[in-house]
Symmetry: D2
């Protein structure tokens, strides 16, 4: 299934796909007056120098420029995410909690949230979502009076009761209701993740979805050192796994906040980087001119040919660091801690 991410990427004018708005921005040739339709702010958070980039896609022009739907994308970057350092991780968890709160406030401050751990727990680089879910404090079933009410309620009554509860919940100062699910991937379930989540949302009526997923980046230096938050939901072709159907406010009827960490790079990215570096070097040396007339093919055409030669067998291949288990474990800890802070 992952093939599609890259197949799709290959068609996007020969650009390798990235789930990070940050990287989409880097590759879109920003002019002096910035990118039209995109607002960007950068800041540094805390003593450790966590770099925070806030990318706001404002309109269709911005969407086209970045290839990302309208909304907010917040990226936290810190090299020390990838190493054991408790005080650093605590600081990042707190920053993360702050930004999740902010995004939730922007969508009406829902008091009941369904947290979805996307991905395949059998594949280390895709197991971030399931790992975060394993350490969440789930509270929906602990709400006072809930269990009894519902045991007695028939199906119709219950749905009604739950509707009320949710409203009541919003008024109930500070008390959150957190539920969670690890839906698995399509090879395990035979179902689209979107089908599963849509069904559960319809039945349990949470106020918002908080989705945790492993992402694909463009640059290996970002693997395990970056967290991206967004309020735009999950769309087909994003994530390490593949989601052909959307998890968005449009498809689910409730707001969706996503938290992701890049854990893989499409193997094709390395082909591109290599061809680009070589092209640059040859052009600098004047080889470009010399080659142009030869054999009926321009240099850019040759580069393209190499890409097409090597890429196909790399289609379903991913690049990931050897210690991906440690990185996912560390980042999973940071994120579950951050989410627990938001809802405690």
């Amino acid at each position: 299934m992952r093939d599609e991410v890259l197949e799709r990427a290959a068609k996007e004018e020969m650009q390798v796909h990235t789930d990070l708005a940050l990287e989409a921005r880097e590759s879109c040739g920003e002019g002096e007056e910035g990118i039209p339709g995109v607002n960007i702010r950068e800041s540094v958070h805390g003593d450790l120098g966590v770099k925070v980039t806030w990318v706001e896609v404002l309109d269709e022009q911005g969407e086209r420029a970045l290839g990302k739907p309208c909304g907010s994308y917040i990226t936290l970057e810190a090299e020390r995410m990838a190493v054991h350092d408790e005080s650093c991780h605590r600081e990042i968890s707190e920053a993360l909690a702050g930004y999740i709160r902010r995004l939730l406030r922007g969508v009406g401050n829902p008091r009941s949230v369904l947290v979805v751990g996307l991905g395949n727990q059998e594949v280390t680089s895709d197991s971030l979502g399931p790992q975060v879910l394993a350490n969440l404090r789930i509270t929906r079933h602990l709400e006072t009076g809930r269990a009894e009410d519902r045991t007695e309620a028939g199906k119709g009554k219950e749905a009604e009761a739950m509707g009320k509860e949710e409203t009541a919940g919003r008024g109930d100062a500070g008390r959150f209701s957190v539920s969670g699910i690890v839906p698995g991937v399509m090879a395990q379930t035979g179902m689209e993740t979107a089908e599963i989540i849509r069904g559960i949302v319809a039945e349990t009526k949470p106020g918002a979805l908080l989705v945790v997923d492993a992402l694909a980046a463009r640059s290996v230096s970002r693997l395990g050192t970056t967290i991206q938050l967004s309020n735009t939901g999950i769309r087909p072709g994003s994530g390490v796994g593949n989601h052909r159907h959307s998890l968005t406010r449009e498809s689910l009827g409730i707001p969706v906040v996503a938290v992701g960490v890049p854990t893989v790079v499409a193997a094709a990215a390395i082909v591109y980087d290599t061809v680009d570096a070589l092209a640059e070097l040859l052009e600098a040396a004047g080889a470009g001119n010399a080659a142009e007339a030869v054999d009926g093919m321009t240099l850019p055409e040759r580069y393209q040919m190499v890409r097409e030669l090597i890429e196909p067998r790399l289609g379903p291949m991913y690049v990931t660091p050897g210690n991906i288990d440690e990185r996912v474990k560390l980042l999973g800890g940071i994120i579950s801690e951050g989410i627990n802070q938001v809802f405690s």
Copy 2:
């Protein structure tokens, strides 16, 4: 949560709960002409002497007598389930496949099935369902033409298309559509299993549910040596875990076939067995009479007192064999193999 199973059991006129219709029958004082409203057939299957008991609860009288809802309960018993013996396991898988097919034929021979692996994969004795799901051949997403159709379809169109597919599926000779889910337990999700399944069923519209679960037995000798099939669904208070809401045809709108293996006995059962054995011994010795007048308490009252003394702290306690991991692994293999045969 598991407490409730046993709390409930304690109230059931001091009988320890069992999920096995076979054991319910044993404890209900069968007369010479059998149990009214209950039909029982016994047979021996294959060279290995798998004992098959078919308990048919016919009406309300039968329901009251057995404490089990109307329907069929098929039990396969063989000591060799619990030891490594490939040819034996193959034979049991085949027998199991045959009985699953028979129960499915009885509910209209559905061609699309959602298999649900109930239980907690973090608790060995409760991990049968998740283990079976890990070895199933999931095929729903492989159906020809499915992926493309649905990628293009909007949400409304898709629901319509799926309705058609399902109908079409039934006509399509021999091709099954198998989907699967491991919903987790309420402490992990904050949701009733029934809520999750109801939502997924409403969204994906399978023709039937096949539920796999670990069960609670009354006798330790049945742990890991018995498989029970039924067509009555899962009801509150059954299973190793606790299901306050039902997974039944009434609650879901589709037939439910259940496959279960007893992996635990409520610890209270041992108190009962011990008291009963002692009472029998004392009565045989005439001590019963002597005691009756003393201290204003009859012997039965004293027995009851001991039960009430010891049972409470055993409420949430389970008895399970030391090698439960091997037994669950073996039985999980037998069951997944059997289910794969049915749908291949």
Copy 3:
């Protein structure tokens, strides 16, 4: 294999085995002047009221009375170990770290320690050791200069170099070398745990062994609420699993500190408790006298008969709480945190 623990227990004058010195003390009929050869101190630690019991077996007389070898047994008890409560757990981790340090000082304050996670990670109640190991900070391979030295060294040279290192390590203020192993159980390896550990100790020459194991208690109320430390090593028949060979200073040549948590009770214990409660009740009512003359059997003989009747099929059975996964996870976190503090 676990059968043996209980078979053995059954022969011990019909007493159910416990790994806790605390419980051995309770069942040995302590007189007013205490138990000869045994020194006992009790105290309460910290704000949370962690109950600390220090049992010192001083000589052979004490060994016979308690059925435990000479040495120190420290037990920490707190109900709140079994529930989510971070500040409580931090306090217990700190107390634990303090007592581990004390026991290590008593055996020469070794600077290099091999931590052994005993048990079967496939069985939730036996997975404490492996879970603790998964969260330890392992440092032996990080020592400066170590890697290079050893890559060049031949086998003989290396052994020599390591001997030196160990000595050097002791002088190196505060720097610990921590290695760790999860040896698995005999059904998985075909080897005694003691064989595996003896081999690794001979090859890597740690200064001490720190063994983490799940234990069998006598009372269900202690499951997941008690931590026992000792400096006497692990002996045949102790632990949830079975260890026919010892892990002791005598067998390994290095001191052994053990940390354990009771996670199971032998199912036979419930038979005993029930018979005892009933016997007490009947005797109080005068039924004892009445029964004595009847049928050529005294009441104690009858009780014994019931035990012998019910116990055999319970031999390999264990009692464990339904939420054993949560308890083991919480206790595993407390213990790994405590050990990490000792060696940081």
Copy 4:
């Protein structure tokens, strides 16, 4: 740790490391009369067309040419290894069993074998060894008379007794003694795998070591479709993980048979392939000549520069297919089945 594999590879005259003798042969420029010091036979096995290549490194000349130590390397290749196909997998298991038997006969037909599952079970692509071990039939502890003898024996006696057993074992027609260990990786244990195995071998005295490991290949097309057997042991820098110390007959005193499956390719390999393809294309177009004089750098120097530019940050990076979990599960099943056949 994995960095070293690739660092080392980078120094090997800019060749990317492969664990497969088959690939080493491909890259060493075989002449018409073959490679001196290397014997190669190819055949096709069974109905499915499993391609079998037998590479025999005969002497030092062969070692230099291939970069692999003297000994036999048998490679089984079949595309269908990577897909669900039971009859195909059975055929490969049988072929594998035959070749393992042949290699064991070549080293004296040992009757007691320690199977070692190398790798990190937390990293999917490195978990082949642990997965195979989880499905092996372990028998060493089941040998008649063994348990009792050894419980009584002191350490010295036992070692002696075991020496005898081993000899006896060889005479005992057809009965094998299989033990197994998953030693973990250095980041988990702080110890070299070689230290752990050396200690266990010294203590338990198996007749041979059978090592299962995930390998690094040069070509992505071989991932999960190739099994390599060898009788030369495991050497530093091989495997997916890193083994700085050897597991060989020289270091352990017993013969070592290795079974491996390539699951990753070093990310640097893609840089090389891309540069090579581009170089070839440019040279064909005559661009090579044009460029030679320019800027004081020849084209080969420029290629080298690009490699050096891009490679460093790829050092610790691996390429692996998206469905690596399924491939490792399938191959693990084939291999454990094959080994079980050998020793049953």
